[in-house]
Amino acid sequence: MYSVVTEGLTKKFNSFTAVNHLSLEIGEGEVFGLLGPNGAGKTTTLRMLACLIAPTEGSAAVAGYDIQSDPLKVRQSVGILTENPSLYERLTALENMDFFAQAYGLLDPQERSRRIRALLEFFNLWDRRNDKVATFSKGMKQKLAIVRATVHKPPILFLDEPTAGLDPESAKEIRDLMAALSQQEKSTILLCTHHLEDAEKLCRRVMIMNRGTCIIVGSPDELREKISGQPVIQIGLKQVNAKVLAAVKANPQAKEVTVNPQEVALMVTVDDARSATPELVEEVVQAKGQVLSVNVLRPSLEEAYLKLIKEENKQ
C-alpha cells in the first residue's frame, strides 16, 4: 500500500513547465526526500499533492484519495509545513496551536492539550507558550509551524525545507522529531530539501529532480554508488615499495592501482569493497608492507548530487 502515488503529474505556469510528468510512489511509513536545486519543481510538486494548486496534467493520490476529486479528505490526512510559517503574530504560541488543532478536527480538549504540550516540550517551547508569536525568533516560529503540521497526528507529512535557516541545534531537533514521527507514529514523510545532510540521515529513498523532471530515485547509498561508479580502497603505508605494489596489482580484484605520494598510500579501485579489502590487506602484509590505515572511499551524497546536477545542466 502506497501513501503517495503520482502518475505523469505535470504543472505548467503559462508556457513554463514547473513539473514535467512526474511519477513516484511512496510507501507507508517511508521518509522520502525530494532533492534538487532552486526551481527544480520540488515545492510545486508538494503544493499539488497538498491540493494548494491543481495539476495541469496527470493524477495523484494521497492516503488513497485523489487530489482533484477528494481534496478535503486529502487535507484531513496530511500535515503540511510550507516555506512560510504564517502564524497569528498577535496570539500566543498556545493560542495559535489550540486554534489550528481545533481547525484540523482535534476536538477533545484534554487530548488537544496533551498533544500540544508534548510537542512544545519536545522543542523546548513550553515555557514560552504564553508569549506572543511576534516575539519569537525565526527558528522558534519554524518549530511552531512544525508543531502545527503534526498536532493532529496526520498519517502523512509534507515538509518543505524544514531546517532552512536554522542553527545546527534547532535543525537537529527537527530531524529528531521527524525520525521519532517516522519510527513511533509510522508517519509517511515527504521531505523537500536542499540540505543533503537531512536527506542522508532521514530518508530511506530520495529523488533528485532538476527542471521539473526526475533524474534518479534510490536510497542514498544506491545513489552514491550509481553516480560515483566503483569504490576506491585507500591503503595507508609506512612506505610504498615495488614489492608491495606488485603484490596488490597481482590481485584479481584490483582493477586499477595508483600511488598517492602525499598520503603515502595505494589507491585501489575494486568492484566490491567488502570482499576485496581483506584480500588486499593480506597481500600487503605478506609482501612485508606496514599498514597504517585502510579506508573505503565513497563520495558523499552531496558530491554525488553536485556531480549529477552538473552533468544534467550540461545536457
Binding site: A50, C51, L52, I53, A54, L72, R75, Q76, I80, T82, N84, S86, L87, Y88, F100, A103, Y104, G105, R148
Partner: protein, 370 residues
Amino acid sequence: MGSGRRILSDFKVFSRGYLRNKFGLFFGLIFPVILILIFGAIFSGNSSSTIDIYTQNQDTGPFESPQLDIASQFLQALNSSSTIRVITVETSNFTNYLAEHSSSDGIIIPANFSANYLAASPINITVYGNPTSSTNGIIVGTVSAVSNLFNLQRFNGEAVIGFTQSTIGFENPQYVDLLIPGLIGFSILVSPMFSLVNISSEYKKNKLFKQLSLTPITKMEWLASKILWYIVLTLASFLLMVAVGVVVFGAHVNLTLGLLPFLIIGPTLFASLGMLVGTVTKNPETAGVIGNIVTFPMMFLAGTFFPISIMPDYLQNIAHVLPLFYIVEGLNNVMVYGNITGALIDIAIVSVITVIIFAAAVKLFKWRED
C-alpha cells in the same frame, strides 16, 4: 555645504520613498482632494438645492378679500426666499405626518394668523426641526427673516410675529440624542470595513489564507466568523455609545427592537464589502487606498454627519446608491421618527445589497492560488 548636500540627498531619498508609498500618496495628495470635492459640493451655495418643508396653514379664513389673507402672503414670502420651498399639507396631526414622511422639519402657521396680524396681536409660528441638522438653521433663519420683514412693514420692527422651535420624536431633545443615529451608522461602516480590508489583504500577503486552506475550515465559515465578530463589536460599540451618551450627557435614547436588524445586517454588509475590496486588490497598500476611496465619500455623502437635503440634487442621487444612506435613514426612521414602514423599506434595500456583496465576496475570495 556638505550639510546642504546631505539634506538634499536625504530629501530626495525620502520623497522618492514617500511617493512610492500608496498610503502616503493617498493621505498626502488624494485625501485632501476628496475632502475639498465632497465639502465643496455639499456646501457650495450655488449648487445647493432648495429645502422642501412641510407646512400646515391653520389660518384658513374665510377672508373678505385675498389681500387680507396674510398667512398665504407669509408663505409666498417664504417661497420667494429661494432657500426653502413650502409644501402645504392638510392633516389633523402634523407631527405624525412629519414622522410618517421621515421629516424633522415643518412649519405650523397658527389659526387667526391674518386677523391677529391686522390687529397687532402676538402671533406664534411653530418651527419643527432637528437642531443637529444644518437644514434647521437655514429654515429658522428664513422664517426669522420673513417674520422680521413682516414686522418691519407694519409695526416698525415690533415683534408681533414670533416663532417657537420644537422637535418631533423627543419631548426634551438634546443635541446628543439626535446625533446618535448618524454616529451608529458611522460605527457600522468604519470598523468592519477598514478591518476586513486590512485583514484580507494582510492574510493574503502573509500566506495565512494558505495555512487556513490546508485545514478543513471553508472560506464561507471563515467569513461568517468575521461577520459574527463585527456584529458583536457593533452591538458593544452601540451600547457603549449609548451608555456614554446617557451617563455623561444625559441623552435620551429610543431603544427599540427595530434597531437590531440594522445592527446585524449593517456590519454584515460592510464586512463583506471590506473583504471584497481586500480580495480584488493585489497588496495591502492598494487595498488600503481603494478601501479609503470607497469609505470616505460614503462617510460624508450618506447623511451620517450632514442631511442629504442640503446637498445638490446630483449628490442626493449619488447618496441614494450608497448602502450606508439606507442604514442611516433607517436608524433615523426607527429612533427619531418612529416610521416603521420607512425603516422596513430601508432594511429591505440594505438586505438586498448585502446579499449581493456577500455573494460577490465569497465568490471572488480564493483560498487557493494558481
